[in-house]
Point group: C2
Chain length 332, copies 2
């Protein structure tokens, strides 16, 4: 896959330069690999910090903004940020009411977020909590749900935790809400093509021109099966059934749905998937609230899509609908 | 390229079903190939209608919404809507103050929009005007600017004409503003890979794995040169120079810039391009107002990007910043 870039080693930093230059109203860069709110931490509000590898825009950095996140630590493409960078992001997010670390369940991230939290607690009497996001049902059976990876469902957790912090909850309350939002989300996706990591110049995986893989991770982690590309309705049906088997949606439930492009897959195809998925939801008697269709959590130019269902209670629905803004998403 | 779809012949209609199902607050479908505002035409407001081939989301259909367009006639992928569909869209957009036809300069579109306008004027005493969008500098020399095609700059015309209609201008005033917005925009892009039309199953063009094409059109129309893929900064520099040669930006000018993905090209790469382009604008002493970076006018999964400069006067800047919303773009 061809990429528009300069030196591969400069990819992340030049991307961040452009991001901040284009949207100074949303993003400041207090450290080379930290994006934070331009006005500094919001005083007396719980700060929310995330982080992770680059290459997933809008995840993670893009979701810094009012009603969303306060700071993000940014690693190289598909690599965790360092503990030091995460600690810098935590400090940038600290308005004096503590900081929630909210991030996807990947080995390097877990290690570095934990280390950053411990370092700051010991050295600076800094109060922080963490919620680890694990919405990808393909990456572990229900009895090992804690091993699952975080994918597009992370966006719901960012939105709802951000709104909970904005309405003035304390650290324990915001953490509990973030955990509830995380628990409410289930995702499953398909991959059609890999993407290329700039520094290696190699695709993240190989796949036959005629094939798809059900449940493949956003970095090319192995999925559930690989076979000839199926029709959109067959794909939506299988994802629906697998998500229903994991956590059923029942008559009267209120849910939000995110049909997410992993990168190259255009919105036209997402709407074809949404059409079928919405039929399943209607058939089972659920109500869809604020469906999201677009590129919310990607892997550069990878082709494929994920479907996420977020089961709402009254609190989560209110938090989902609360105002929020960043360069990639406006809720008003 | 792999696509998530069912029967290729159903691609457009299933996409529209999904679009309307996901966003009923923005889109209604009064005819199978017409998307319009769900509340019907806005009484006593000039209606703005567009149309064109499918496969370019958010262009064209996506930009129906408050502060933007009133209706859109939808053709098959990369094919004009019919004159009858356009006439239906015009009727859906008609609030009694006349209708502006605002669309890209492509042969089939021009023919069918003209025919629709003439038919309604003769049969129904229907007042309408048209502005044809021609921002792509690669598609004709300055002395033949009227032959140029419309590309991503169309989005500025949609936004500014929509705001002009919203503030209550009459048909002549909205038409004049739309023409001014159209005249203020210049675009130039590069193509890296083709996309595949669902019904033919064939790529729109062929290009070597190592090559790019400067100035190629969004349907694969021939560009200015084809050669080995250059670095991002070299690409941004050449586009800047060619746009400056066509219509110079000078010290003190106020401009908006749109760095647009043609589909598969991820936002990371757009920000790398923006970073360099913003430097040129700063070096020449221009001020950038509300830069746009993202997927605003695409060709399904085509890889590549376009850069558009829109030179603002006080009126156009006010119209650009006026509130607008659709499923793909919120300005508040």
């Amino acid at each position: 896959m061809k990429k528009i870039l300069n030196e591969p080693a400069a990819y992340v930093d030049e991307m961040l330069e452009g991001l901040v230059a284009a949207h100074p109203e949303f993003y400041a860069r207090p450290h080379p690999r930290v994006i934070a709110r331009p006005g500094g931490a919001v005083k007396d509000k719980v700060g929310i910090v995330t982080g992770g590898g680059s290459g997933h825009l809008p995840v993670f950095t893009g979701y810094v903004g009012p009603g969303l996140l306060d700071a993000c630590a940014i690693g190289d493409v598909f690599s965790s940020a360092s503990a030091e960078q995460i600690a810098d992001a935590m400090k940038a997010a600290d308005g004096g009411a503590g900081v929630l670390r909210l991030y996807g369940n990947y080995g390097g991230d877990v290690m570095n977020f934990d280390m950053a939290g411990e370092t700051l607690e010991v050295e600076e009497d800094f109060e922080s909590t963490s919620v680890v996001l694990t919405d990808d049902v393909a990456s572990g059976p229900p009895e090992e749900a804690a091993k699952r990876r975080g994918v597009a469902g992370m966006v719901y957790a960012f939105k709802m935790a951000g709104a909970a912090a904005d309405r003035g909850g304390d650290l324990a309350a915001v953490t509990a809400t973030a955990q509830k939002a995380a628990d409410a989300c289930r995702s499953l996706g398909i991959a059609l093509t890999p993407c290329t990591i700039p520094q290696s110049g190699k695709p993240t995986f190989e796949i036959d021109d005629a094939d798809m893989e059900m449940g493949m991770g956003i970095h090319g982690e192995p999925g559930i099966w690989r076979a000839k590309l199926k029709k959109a309705d067959e794909i939506a049906d299988e994802i629906w059934e697998r998500l229903q088997a994991d956590r059923p949606i029942n008559k009267g439930d209120r849910v939000s749905v995110l049909v997410n492009s992993l990168g190259a897959t255009p919105p036209e195809e997402l709407y074809i998937l949404y059409r079928r998925f919405a039929k399943h939801l209607a058939d089972c008697g659920a109500s869809v609230v604020m469906p999201l269709v677009g590129r919310y959590a990607a892997s550069m130019e990878m082709a494929g899509a994920t479907l996420t269902v977020c089961q709402l209670d009254a609190e989560l629905e209110e938090l989902l609908k609360a105002p929020a803004s960043c360069a990639f998403w406006q809720v008003s």
